[in-house]
């Protein structure tokens, strides 16, 4: 492990990162719409762990254990998944502006959601999340098919471009479908409900969601981690990677499918939360370098922590009202991206 991680310092940094993550989880438990004393928080944790502790009001107990804790864990999973998807797509598509939605996933998810909520697809048997997931996978399938058609027989170098362009086309198509459904069939209430969901919303996260989100995030992260060498090898393009022994077709298929699954699950749970997948990878490259062995865990941790903190801000910024979390990530992400852009252009020419 000494060789793989290159020494003690990176391992220490990883430990610090994990510690920050735990601290962020703690903040998310302590800070909330209503005030719950710290002593109660500690008591609830002890009770759930099976240790004796003082009595806590069942509503407070429920809020801490069944509302805030799952919500924080979902924020972690979602942030990590989106950030990892961003890192992978930026490396594979050789485009630093790639984010997890570039392959049409969030556009498809919103179409699926409005189909269920407004058109009544699934006749009540299908939830908003179920519809969103199906929509996301349909859009991704369409984009993959379109990219295949566009690539045809030509050289492999253009296949990444074909995928990017197909993603743009697919996203536009599904966005248009969403707009059509809303314009044609939605009344005021429904339109508002959908828009709130589409901007990203972590409320309603419960333990069953955690049982889905965490394993998927862990499995997806593991698959991505295993491919760190292939991602590094893509630095100078597909051809260079192939000449260094990477089976790029297989790797791209596996990794893009993994990110599609991660993103589709997260978007169907929480709506489309932007900027995490785009900005966090760049920020981490700036901090830990471009080597994916360090970049992948750093990005996952940073994405998770970022989203927990963003959720806290979304809940607390305006008293009595919850902002859509996508607004917070954009408000932070956009200037952060600008700063990274300026700093890195100086670094490049240095």
């Amino acid at each position: 492990m000494q060789f793989a991680f290159g020494g003690v310092r990176p391992a220490l940094t990883l430990l610090i990162g994990v510690a920050i993550m735990v601290a962020a989880l703690g903040f998310a438990l302590v800070i909330g719409e209503t005030r719950i004393p710290l002593a109660d928080i500690w008591a609830v944790l002890r009770i759930e762990a099976g240790y004796p502790a003082r009595e806590v009001n069942p509503i407070d107990h429920g809020i801490l254990w069944s509302y805030r804790l799952p919500r924080a864990i979902i924020a972690l999973s979602c942030g990590a998944s989106l950030a990892l998807s961003g890192v992978v797509l930026q490396a594979l598509l050789r485009n630093p502006l790639s984010d997890p939605y570039i392959l049409g996933l969030s556009a498809g998810a919103s179409t699926g959601a409005v189909a269920v909520a407004i058109l009544g697809f699934g006749a009540g048997a299908l939830s908003l999340s179920g519809g969103a997931f199906i929509g996301a996978m349909l859009a991704f399938g369409f984009v993959a098919w379109l990219a295949r058609m566009a690539r045809g027989n030509s050289a492999q170098a253009t296949s990444s471009l074909a995928l990017l362009l197909a993603g743009v086309a697919g996203a536009q198509l599904f966005h248009a479908l969403t707009a059509l459904i809303i314009a044609k069939s939605a009344d005021a209430n429904q339109a508002r409900g959908i828009m709130f969901w589409m901007m990203g919303n972590l409320s309603g996260s419960r333990w069953p969601d955690v049982y889905l989100a965490v394993p998927i995030t862990l499995i997806g992260s593991a698959i991505i981690c295993l491919h760190f060498r292939a991602l590094d090898a893509m630095t100078f393009g597909r051809e260079a990677a192939q000449s260094m022994g990477i089976r790029t077709g297989l790797v791209m298929g596996v990794l893009i499918s993994t990110t599609a699954l991660l993103t589709a699950v997260m978007v169907s749970m929480t709506g489309a939360i932007g900027f995490v997948g785009l900005v966090v990878p760049h920020a981490m490259r700036f901090l830990v370098g471009v080597g994916h062995l360090r970049l992948i865990p750093a990005t996952a941790l940073a994405g998770g922590i970022f989203l927990i903190l963003a959720d806290i801000v979304a809940r607390m910024l305006i008293p009595g009202q919850t902002l859509p979390i996508g607004v917070v990530t954009a408000l932070v992400g956009a200037p952060a991206f600008a700063i990274i852009l300026v700093r890195s252009s100086r670094a490049h020419s240095g």
Binding site: T34, Y67, G124, R192, G193, I194, G204, R206, Q321, T322
Partner: protein, 333 residues
């Protein structure tokens, strides 16, 4: 005097007394001045509230078309409504409305006919010499540019509902129909308030849950100044939500800790969100790890109310009565 001419004179006199409306009639309505030289021949009604108001005033035969229906029409109007063309269940197109050559377009919300109206702006209709009338409950004391459903600056009251009925009856030259309808509703309203006073409800609070976009996510609840807020105030009940928005989303954390005495669930007919259905809402209250500890849930103080009573329409008064009924039953247990 000749008997026949006396009869004619009396008949003419009573006829003109029956038609006691002065034209031209000018009404200030939601920021527009609308003038009528004569009663309109026909009307297209966009919104269940205005449609049912017109039926209540006995103007069913003047309605050329309706659109925007949230629930089934009130049973007492079913026969009349069956003869009226339904242009759309939801938002009608501008052309479909204008095609009916209506003498008036009445809309329940500015959301349909207003500055950003999904059917059209009021000016678009006025340009074609079609006057428009917005149900006063949607603009009196309300700013529709703030908040998705608009924000109320002051508590709504049944006065705006009565204003709508009176003004519509005046427009159509049947002011006595309006006055009678209002008198009936006022009597019922008064009776319900008296019943509530008799229950001596002190320290009673309530929460009105409309629906939720996603099952466990923050619910849409009634704000402080909309019709449910009014109903609660008339009955002497405190609303645990004090937002000025019509239907704000408030987290279950806050609602549970507010621990209202009663939880009122909206009975919607539409089935677009899972939480539209009453059983689903009840199921949530029974199983959610936080909500099920609310006193109202534990002690069975969960009431059901027709969703449309939660808008400022003629049904609001029956909402008042229904809630007074429910309170009486609950208290007597």
């Amino acid at each position: 005097m000749n008997k026949i001419s006396l009869g004619v004179a009396v008949a003419t006199l009573s006829a003109s007394m029956a038609m006691a409306q002065d034209y031209p009639l000018t009404i200030e309505n939601c920021g527009h001045t609308v003038t009528f030289d004569v009663a309109p021949e026909s009307v297209v009604s966009i919104g269940q509230a205005t449609s049912e108001a017109l039926y209540l005033l006995g103007l069913g035969d003047k309605v050329a078309g309706t659109a925007v229906w949230f629930t089934d029409v009130l049973p007492e109007f079913a026969e009349v409504n069956a003869k009226v063309e339904r242009l759309a269940d939801n938002t009608p197109s501008f052309e479909a409305v204008v095609n009916k050559r209506p003498g008036l377009v009445a809309s329940q919300y500015e959301w349909y006919v207003g500055p950003k109206g999904s059917v059209g702006t009021r000016e678009q209709f006025h340009d074609l010499s079609v006057p428009t009338y917005i149900w006063p409950a949607d603009c009196v004391g309300k700013d529709n540019s703030v908040g998705v459903d608009g924000t109320r600056e002051e508590l709504v009251s049944t006065e705006v509902i009565y204003q709508g009925l009176i003004e519509l009856s005046q427009i159509f030259g049947v002011p006595e129909a309006g006055e009678k309808a209002v008198a009936d509703l006022k009597a019922r309203e008064f009776a319900a308030i008296e019943r509530a006073k008799a229950l001596d409800l002190t320290d009673t609070s309530a929460l009105f849950w409309f629906s939720s976009a996603k099952m466990d996510a923050d619910p849409y609840v009634a704000g402080a100044k909309g019709a449910p807020g009014f109903i609660m105030k008339q009955l002497g009940i405190e609303n645990v939500v004090d937002s000025s928005e019509e239907w704000p989303t408030v987290g279950w954390e806050t609602l549970a800790k507010a621990n209202p005495t009663y939880v009122v669930l909206a009975d919607l007919q539409r089935r677009k969100f899972p939480a539209d259905a009453i059983d689903v809402k009840k199921g949530f209250l029974a199983t959610d790890p936080v909500a099920r500890h609310m006193d109202a849930v534990k002690e069975g103080r969960v009431l059901v109310l027709d969703a449309h009573a939660m808008d400022a329409t003629i049904r609001t008064i029956s909402g008042l009565e229904l809630l007074a009924d429910a309170m009486e039953q609950a208290v007597s247990k």
